[in-house]
Every structure is written in structure tokens, then in C-alpha cells.
């Protein structure tokens, strides 16, 4: 009956309860939807980084990571490649030839990273081919061709069919140049990536710099599911235990390659929880105020319950249950509305095209697809119940301090 009384008491002052439900619901919507937005934004950035830029896992010669010189190649790269391809979780593997270069046109020049890739293998590792907005992606048939980012094309004032002059250091340490015809222009959500990365057929780069086409300084691995990264890293470290201990290769996951991304995810999560806690702390005062009013209005009734023989534990539980119901009803309302909002924007995206330039510059898409964050929902509910329990302590203690004779006499 205690549950029943607590629940029914909630509806005694419908206006007051509705105001509190609404406040809690709005607070929860604010926290959960902003988390959906931030998580969506972060996830999109991470997904894009994995899909277009770094893939799930990369393997390098440790010396290459220290100075980025192409001479530090991966020993027995082909053998390693074959072993990786045999791992069932692996979707694709690409052995790349990667080096720093100077790209220039008749009008301007820019520092870039040039990737010599096998187009067929690269398609399985990188989604860049999906972002070609003019022309086409690299293919084996094309002669001395390249695809460049739209940002670089604008900077160098180049277009489809134009020649991009690339200057690199060859295997003998000499500076050498080659001309690559632009067959495709790509555009990702990351302007800085588009401005700095140029892709060519590995065979052509191999000819230019003088390293055999079967060699490479970077192995990019794409998995069937990103969630398998940690597991596959373990497998790779086991398979290549000897190479790793001999410091011939180093295996790194996407978050080790781009630690900033990982810290960004942690930071966003952290902000979401701080935001949630601030909102709930503010709501706690509203809940305490409401329940104190409810207790003060019902002094005589509480006195009567005590007079009849309801013990303090039950009085305390009654006030606590009312507070929990009050909070949970508001929270459930807020969560249900939030789920609708998040699902809508998860499907159709939230358009931020008005600030697209700024977002693209820092690598974010201008259409944010919200993410449904189940953990955040669960945490929100737990925190709300916790806040409700804490908020109920002061009103419940006030109720307990009442003396039945005084409580009944004061109002009569």
C-alpha cells in the first residue's frame, strides 16, 4: 500500500508535479540529446578517420615512425601481407609506399604526403574511392595518374587532366621529380587531409623513387568490424612476435596512430557526463523544494500516520518513494522524447551546413548523425534515481522530525 500511496500522492497536486516532470524531462532531453549529438559527431570523425585516413591497424618499421624516411621499409612485407590476409576478421590489407614530397603546379607548391598504392587492394582498406567528386579513382590501367584532394586542387589551381609535379627523394638520396596526371579529385569531411594527401599507383611511385614495387613502408589493415581491433592487434602481436621483438615492425591501432581522436572521444564522454551531472544537480534543488513543500503541506497527514502507528522507517520510505516516482516519471518522459529526437537525427542527420567550412577544417562533417548511446541512457537513469534518493533525504528527515501530537495540533 506504501507504493500505492506514494504513487497516488504524486498526482495530488497535478500542476506542481507536472512542472517538475517537465523540468526533469527537459533537463534529461538537454543532456541526452547533446550527448547524442556529441557522440554522433565524434563517431563520424572516428569512422571517417578509419575509413579514409588511417584504417583500423597499421604496421610500420619502427625507424620509419621516428623520421618518416622511405628507406625504412617493412622487411619481408609480402610475407607479412599474406599472413595478415589469412586472418578471418580482416577485410582488406594494403601495402603502401608512403613518403613526404613537394607537389607543385605552374602557379604554386605545397608540402604533401604521397601514397603509392595498389588500387584494388586500397579499395578494400580505404573508402576514399567513395569520395571522388570529379573524375574517377585510380586503376591499374591508368598511366602515371593521381587523385588529389579538392583543397589541394584549389590551392595549386589544378583540375582534372592537369599535371601535378611531385618532387621526392629517391632511393639514392637524390631529389627527383615526376609528373602525374590528375584523374580524380576527392573530397572528404577533413579539409586538412584533402590538402595534404596525394595517391598514385604504386608502380609509378616505385619507378620514380627506385624501390621495388613489392616493397613498402606502410601496411594498412581494415577489419570487418572496428570493434575487433583490440582482438586482431593481439593476434598480430602473436603471429609477428619475432619481428616485433627484433624491432623490425611495429603494430599500432587507429587510436595509437591518432591519439588525439581517442582523447577526443574520452573528452566528449567526459563533457557529456559533466553536463548531465550539472543538470541533475540543478534539478535536485527543484525536487528538494517540491518535496519540502509537499511535506510541509501534509504536516497534519504525516502526524496522523505517525499517530496511527506508521513507524519512521515507513514514513521515510513513503517520502523517498514519492521523490523517486517524481524523478523517474520525469526522467522516463525525457528519455522517451530524447530517443525519438536522437533516432530522427540518427536517420536524417542534423544539418550544420551554415558552419560547414569551419567544421570541415577541423575534420568534421557538416551533417551530424546522432548516436544512440545506450550506456549514457543507463547511466542517466541510475544517476536520476541516485539524485532522487539524495534529494528525498532532506524532506524525509523533515517529516521524521514531526511529533504526531504537535503535527496534528498545529493545523487543527
Amino acid at each position: 500500500m506504501l507504493l500505492s500511496i506514494a504513487w497516488r500522492n504524486l498526482w495530488r497536486n497535478k500542476l506542481r508535479s507536472t512542472v517538475i516532470f517537465t523540468s526533469i524531462a527537459v533537463g534529461i532531453i538537454g543532456a541526452v540529446v547533446s550527448d547524442g549529438f556529441m557522440s554522433g559527431m565524434t563517431d563520424q570523425r572516428v569512422d571517417a578517420a578509419i575509413a579514409n585516413e588511417v584504417s583500423d591497424i597499421q604496421i610500420h618499421n619502427p625507424a620509419f615512425l621516428l623520421n618518416g624516411e622511405i628507406q625504412y621499409q617493412i622487411p619481408h612485407a609480402e610475407k607479412i601481407l599474406n599472413k595478415i590476409e589469412a586472418i578471418p576478421q580482416v577485410k582488406g590489407v594494403s601495402l603502401r609506399m608512403r613518403t613526404s614530397a613537394m607537389a607543385s603546379s605552374a602557379n604554386a607548391g605545397a608540402g604533401i604526403t604521397i601514397y603509392g598504392v595498389n588500387p584494388a587492394a586500397e579499395r578494400k582498406v580505404s573508402d576514399l574511392y567513395k569520395h571522388v567528386i570529379q573524375g574517377k579513382y585510380l586503376s591499374k590501367k591508368e598511366k602515371i595518374s593521381t587523385i588529389i584532394g579538392q583543397k589541394l586542387a584549389h590551392k595549386l589551381n589544378l583540375g582534372l587532366g592537369d599535371k601535378l609535379i611531385v618532387t621526392v627523394t629517391d632511393s639514392s638520396g637524390n631529389i627527383t621529380s615526376g609528373a602525374f596526371q590528375i584523374v580524380g579529385i576527392y573530397k572528404t569531411a577533413n579539409d586538412r587531409f584533402d590538402e595534404a594527401n596525394v595517391f598514385v599507383n604504386k608502380k609509378n611511385l616505385s619507378n620514380l623513387i627506385g624501390y621495388p614495387v613489392t616493397t613498402g613502408d606502410e601496411i594498412a589493415i581494415r577489419l570487418k568490424a572496428n570493434s575487433q581491433t583490440a582482438g586482431v592487434i593481439k593476434i598480430l602481436r602473436r603471429i609477428f612476435k619475432k619481428e616485433i621483438s627484433n624491432k623490425q615492425i611495429v603494430v599500432r591501432s587507429w587510436d595509437q596512430i591518432q591519439p588525439l581522436l581517442k582523447s577526443m572521444i574520452s573528452m566528449m564522454n567526459y563533457f557529456s557526463y559533466i553536463f548531465l551531472v550539472i543538470i541533475l544537480a540543478a534539478l535536485a534543488f527543484a525536487i528538494i523544494n517540491t518535496m519540502l513543500m509537499a511535506v510541509m503541506e501534509r504536516t497534519r497527514e504525516i502526524g496522523m500516520l505517525m499517530a496511527l502507528g506508521m513507524n519512521k522507517r515507513k514514513i521515510f520510505s513513503l517520502i523517498m518513494l514519492e521523490t523517486i516516482f517524481l524523478s523517474v516519471v520525469g526522467a522516463v518522459l525525457g528519455l522517451v522524447i530524447s530517443i525519438f529526437i536522437i533516432n530522427h537525427y540518427a536517420t536524417y542527420g542534423f544539418d550544420l551546413s551554415s558552419v560547414a567550412k569551419g567544421l570541415n577544417y577541423i575534420g568534421y562533417s557538416s551533417r551530424i548523425f546522432f548516436r544512440v548511446n545506450t550506456n549514457f541512457y543507463i547511466t542517466s537513469i541510475i544517476l536520476i534515481i541516485l539524485i532522487a534518493v539524495l534529494s528525498s533525504i532532506s524532506p524525509a528527515l523533515k517529516a521524521l522530525r514531526l511529533q504526531p501530537a504537535t503535527a496534528i495540533r498545529d493545523v487543527q
Partner: protein, 230 residues
């Protein structure tokens, strides 16, 4: 043997700078089955005495024994439990739980006493029938008249099978008809079940029904008359 024995009861309220002596040495015995009215002018100490007899308040000095249990010796928790199992209350302002129906209000105390759902439902319906309000069992207090609410309060007070019932001005808010009906019900309960009733009242109609009238003034008993059952 007395069901209640108040020995040398003093009650001094220290809530203001000037202490208020609400009771000044009250000695009173109540026997089982009595239908007693405590009367006196406003501020005479009726309600204070009733609260002390009902274990809602403790005397500053003196002892209150209910069938050999000294209420002053009980802890706060024991006192609450003692009230639950031994004392019934009927208040001036009815004091029903507004969100519960008449039936649920009557059941409420039995639930606190951990009586099974089936038994308390049966007993509550019987009591509502006895106070003539069984047809309103599913009505909430707000849907009942004052007289009907007070009948539910009587049913609730009887539900716990108390040793005695304390009724503080139970008819103060009722019209003549409701007062007469309520008094008749309580008198019937007293006759039929030998239930002990102790009233604090100004109401002549209650006094007319009582077979003992204890008069109190300035915190002292100044009169104690017993009548033949009326």
C-alpha cells in the same frame, strides 16, 4: 482492573519563553468498556490529556500505565508500535488518507499490523458495514460528506482491535444529524463489542451519551461524574 491509569501527570510546554503548564497533576483511571467524555473550556488541557492517554505525547512528570505498560519506559519506536496495536484514534478533522478509498483507509492500519490481504479486506468491509457506509467503500474521502468521513475514521480506529479509542472533538465539524448518527454508531460499538471510548469534547450531545464525564480546568480534574448507561 483499569485499562488506563494516569498517575500525577504534569505537562509543561517549554516552547515559549514562559513555560505553559498544560496539566497540573492529573490522576485518572479508565476502566474497560467505558464511554468517557473529558470536558472543559478551551485551553483547559483536554487535548493534552487525551494525547498523553493515547501515547501521542509523554508527560513531563508522572506515569501513564496502559494495562501495566508504562508508556514513559518505551522507546520512540516501541511507542509507535504500541499505539499501532493498542490505541485507536478518531480526530476532529477526520484525517483520512486522501488518496485512499474508504475501504483502503480502513484496511490501512491492518496492513501496518501485517494482517493478510484477505483478512483485512473482510474485516474492513465488515466495519464499513457496521458504521453504515459499505456502499461508499470505493469512494475517496473527497467524495464523502464530513459525517461519512468520520464514520470511516471510526471504522479505521476499530480495525486495529485497539484496547481503547481516543476521539478528540470527533463531532466538532459535523451537523446535528451526522453527530447523532456517529454517536449512535460509537455507542453501539461500545455496547456490542465493549469498546472503550475516551472523548475530548465541548459537544453537549456527546456528553449526553457518555456514562462518565471528567471535567478538567487549568490542567486539573475538577469533576468526575459517572452516570447509568444512557
Amino acid at each position: 482492573m483499569s485499562i488506563i491509569e494516569a498517575k500525577g501527570i504534569y505537562k509543561i510546554y517549554q516552547e515559549t519563553k514562559v513555560p505553559v503548564n498544560a496539566l497540573n497533576g492529573v490522576d485518572l483511571k479508565i476502566e474497560k468498556g467505558e464511554f468517557t467524555a473529558i470536558v472543559g473550556p478551551s485551553g483547559s488541557g483536554k487535548t493534552t490529556l487525551l494525547n498523553i492517554l493515547g501515547g501521542l505525547d509523554l508527560p513531563t512528570k508522572g506515569d501513564i500505565l496502559i494495562e501495566n505498560t508504562n508508556l514513559k519506559a518505551l522507546s520512540s519506536r516501541q511507542l509507535i508500535d504500541f499505539r499501532l496495536h493498542n490505541i485507536g484514534f478518531v480526530f476532529q478533522a477526520y484525517n483520512l488518507i486522501p488518496v485512499l478509498t474508504a475501504l483502503e483507509n480502513t484496511e490501512f492500519i491492518m496492513e501496518l499490523q501485517k494482517v493478510s490481504k484477505k483478512d483485512r479486506m473482510k474485516k474492513a468491509l465488515e466495519l464499513l458495514k457496521a458504521v453504515g457506509i459499505a456502499d461508499k467503500a470505493n469512494h475517496k474521502p473527497g467524495q464523502l460528506s464530513g459525517g461519512q468521513q468520520q464514520r470511516v475514521a471510526v471504522a479505521r480506529a476499530l480495525a486495529s482491535q485497539p484496547r481503547f479509542i481516543i476521539a478528540d472533538e470527533p463531532t466538532a465539524n459535523l451537523d446535528s444529524r451526522s453527530t447523532n448518527e456517529l454517536l449512535e454508531i460509537m455507542a453501539e460499538m461500545n455496547r456490542k463489542y465493549h469498546s472503550t471510548f475516551i472523548f475530548a469534547t465541548h459537544d453537549q450531545r456527546v456528553m449526553d451519551k457518555a456514562h462518565r464525564i471528567v471535567t478538567i480546568d487549568d490542567g486539573k480534574i475538577i469533576g468526575d461524574e459517572t452516570f447509568e448507561r444512557r
